[in-house]
């Protein structure tokens, strides 16, 4: 009798203690680099731990940097995509933030609003800063400043637009012409139903329900339908008629059977196995998908499909690099690292071997030719928008979990669901 009561109380106490300890945040370190000796900087990254060409590429870029700068060591801290903000915030609370962090675009506005991201201009000289920006594709510089920030705090690194990947062999087997992939969502639905009927494979998958909890594809769909999730002065319009049209179209893909009602991971592995005809997702998946297709089928890449009579207007996904180092020697080393990762040479490698876009015009010629559709979109890039306020990322999570997923995968009423989500997001701001 006594022992189990004690067991319960101990469990409770342990649970509470753990929670409180976590909330309080323990441990402190304000390490200063010894002057003159080698400097070690920490790099929080969600791509470095991935078992893919992107993960290998990130490791190679780090190794190249260390080889070129023997006095600087980079210590990578891998983190899952969806946990970047969590890890970052927890490490800031603990007084031990990484010196450089790779932050996805859907999370950077909240990070900049709440965490000590340092403007690059404050770290280096005005001339050096101007020279660094020189050569970056103008549309990228126009589309990436973080809302609410006067100075640039996130340097565009691995960036991609969404495209339509397709299995050319399944197209042929279904009697479709792989040279003319669908250009609108309607055409894609027809092609998907044909593939399903003729080959038995699944038709298409639009990865609006993003595993990293980003809304880049939701934005791309709503933008392409002529709407937007938020107006320039911060009004939330996720329940606009255009947004309802856009998500209804994706829901129709599921309802008609053109798209399986599954999470992205299942769809991606089905596509890799040659059992799914089309996959609309970030162009950054190119190398991984291509590697999986090798020997099984030929991978095709086409522009993001839009709506009938309107040009497609996708935004971008990916990440930028931010510096959090306080210590001057570490901040300088961190800046060198950021400069290296966003140099022309690095972008040549990124665009040829990692599947992300060359953000410097001079590196474009090195790009994988199948990035063509994404490169065209880069010239006319729709800005990635963020919800206003310090809870912008919570707004994205609400939109994705409580509206996009139930509508797209489980047949929830688009208008009512989006109205409810919009009200909730407005109440956060």
């Amino acid at each position: 009798m006594k022992s189990h009561r004690r067991g319960r109380r101990a469990g409770l106490v342990i649970a509470l203690g753990a929670v409180a300890a976590l909330l309080a945040g323990c441990g402190q370190s304000g390490s200063t680099a010894a002057s003159g000796g080698p400097v070690t900087i920490t790099f929080l990254s969600y791509t470095v731990g991935q078992a893919s060409a992107v993960g290998d590429g990130t490791k190679k870029l780090i190794a190249d940097f260390e080889a070129a700068n023997p006095e600087i060591k980079v210590e990578a801290q891998p983190v899952p995509t969806a946990d970047v903000l969590t890890k970052l915030q927890a490490s800031v609370v603990a007084g031990n933030p990484p010196d450089v962090a790779q932050i996805g675009w859907s999370k950077v506005a909240q990070a900049a609003g709440t965490l000590p991201l340092r403007p690059f201009e404050d770290i280096t000289s005005a001339e050096d800063w101007k020279n660094t920006l020189d050569g970056i594709v103008p549309s990228v510089l126009k589309a990436t400043p973080v809302a609410g920030q006067q100075k640039i705090v996130s340097m565009p690194f691995l960036m991609a637009t969404p495209v339509l990947f397709y299995n050319t062999d399944l197209f042929k087997a279904a009697g479709l012409d792989p040279a003319h992939p669908p250009t609108t969502i309607d055409q894609m639905k027809q092609a998907a139903l044909t593939i399903k009927a003729k080959t038995g494979a699944d038709g298409t998958y639009v990865s609006a329900v993003d595993p990293g909890k980003s809304d880049y594809l939701t934005q791309s769909l709503v933008d392409s339908a002529g709407g937007g999730l938020v107006t320039p002065n911060g009004d939330i319009t996720v329940d606009s008629p255009q947004a309802i049209t856009a998500l209804s179209a994706v829901q129709d893909l599921t309802k008609s059977g053109a798209q399986p009602a599954v999470q992205f991971d299942s769809a991606q592995s089905a596509f890799s196995a040659g059992k799914l005809g089309m996959l609309v997702t970030t162009a950054g998946g190119l190398v991984t998908l291509d590697k999986a297709a090798k020997g099984k089928y030929t991978l095709g890449v086409a522009p993001f499909p839009g709506f009938e009579g309107m040009p497609a207007h996708p935004t971008f996904s990916g990440n930028g690099l931010s510096i959090l180092a306080k210590d001057s020697a570490k901040a300088q080393a961190a800046w060198k690292f950021v400069q290296f990762l966003t140099s022309e040479k690095s972008f040549e490698y990124i665009a040829s071997s990692m599947g992300y876009l060359p953000l410097r015009a001079a590196a474009a010629s090195a790009a994988d030719p199948r990035l063509g559709p994404a490169l065209q979109q880069l010239a006319d890039l729709a800005p990635y928008t963020t919800f206003p306020g310090k809870k912008s990322n919570q707004g994205v999570v609400v939109l994705q979990d409580e509206a996009v997923e139930p509508i797209v995968l489980r047949g929830a009423d688009p208008a009512a669901t989006l109205h409810a989500a919009a009200a909730k997001i407005r109440s956060l701001g």
Binding site: G7, A20, P260, S266, D401
Partner: protein, 303 residues
Amino acid sequence: MTLATQTKAGPARKTGSALAWLYFTPAIVSLLIWVYGPLLFTAVLSFLDWNLVSPDAAWQGLRNYGTLVTQPEFGNAAWNTVLYGLCVLPFATVVPCALAIAMWKRPGRASEIYRMLLFLPVVVAPVANALAWQFILDPLHGAVNQTLRAVGLPAVNWLGDPHTALLTIVAVTVPKVVALNTLLFGAALANVDRRTVEAARMDDAREGEITRAVVIPQLRRTMILLGMLSLVVVWPWLFTNISVLTRGGPSNATDNVYFRLYTYAFTFFDAGTASAAAIVIAVAFGLLLAGYAFLSRRFRASR
């Protein structure tokens, strides 16, 4: 003689109790630092609006507690927590008890091997286990749905359908509970006198009657203890599977109060609401405990 001992016992007891407090001090101090201090800190946090990093935390009174009541998420999580508890309970008591008795009744090499195999889930790495299940349960080409299709049954989106997701999380978690408790029931059975069973056999009792009337009554206390204990230790195991497989979705169907607390604190960085949730969980547990203690005392008194 009696008088002499009594007079001696007075001061001796006093020094004894002072000494006892001295021995207690390290434990009490560390409890204050590591348990009650943070608990107090959490209680204070629950009245603030704070994101863990900003230097200014605003006082909000009871608004965080209001959020827990007015927003549907915490209520839903609390209900799911009850469901999880109810679903886990038979796998913490009846199932492992039956397995342990079966192995106890037929001792030997086969029983030993079986016992070892049953214990295996306890030592499997939790995240690796969850990832393996993700592949097995994949709605399109996972082993489970492939098998269902092969025998002509419709495929089920186990983790993606709000109707099946919670049960699926329970199903992938309980092997661990069963494994551990089978071992513990086995240990309890080692204390059961086999001669009581022999005696019952002499009296021509059937095997079912022996189990029901002789073995199980001797395991009743163990069963209550393990049922309670499992309801304390199962949450971290469930948490891992929820975190890897569903992140509380679809439509919060697999959420529970612990995952909700984590979401408030580390997805939304709302330390105030998370702390309010922690306090509510602590109070609810405390009330349950008090109620149980009260009932068991009444029960004992009435006997």
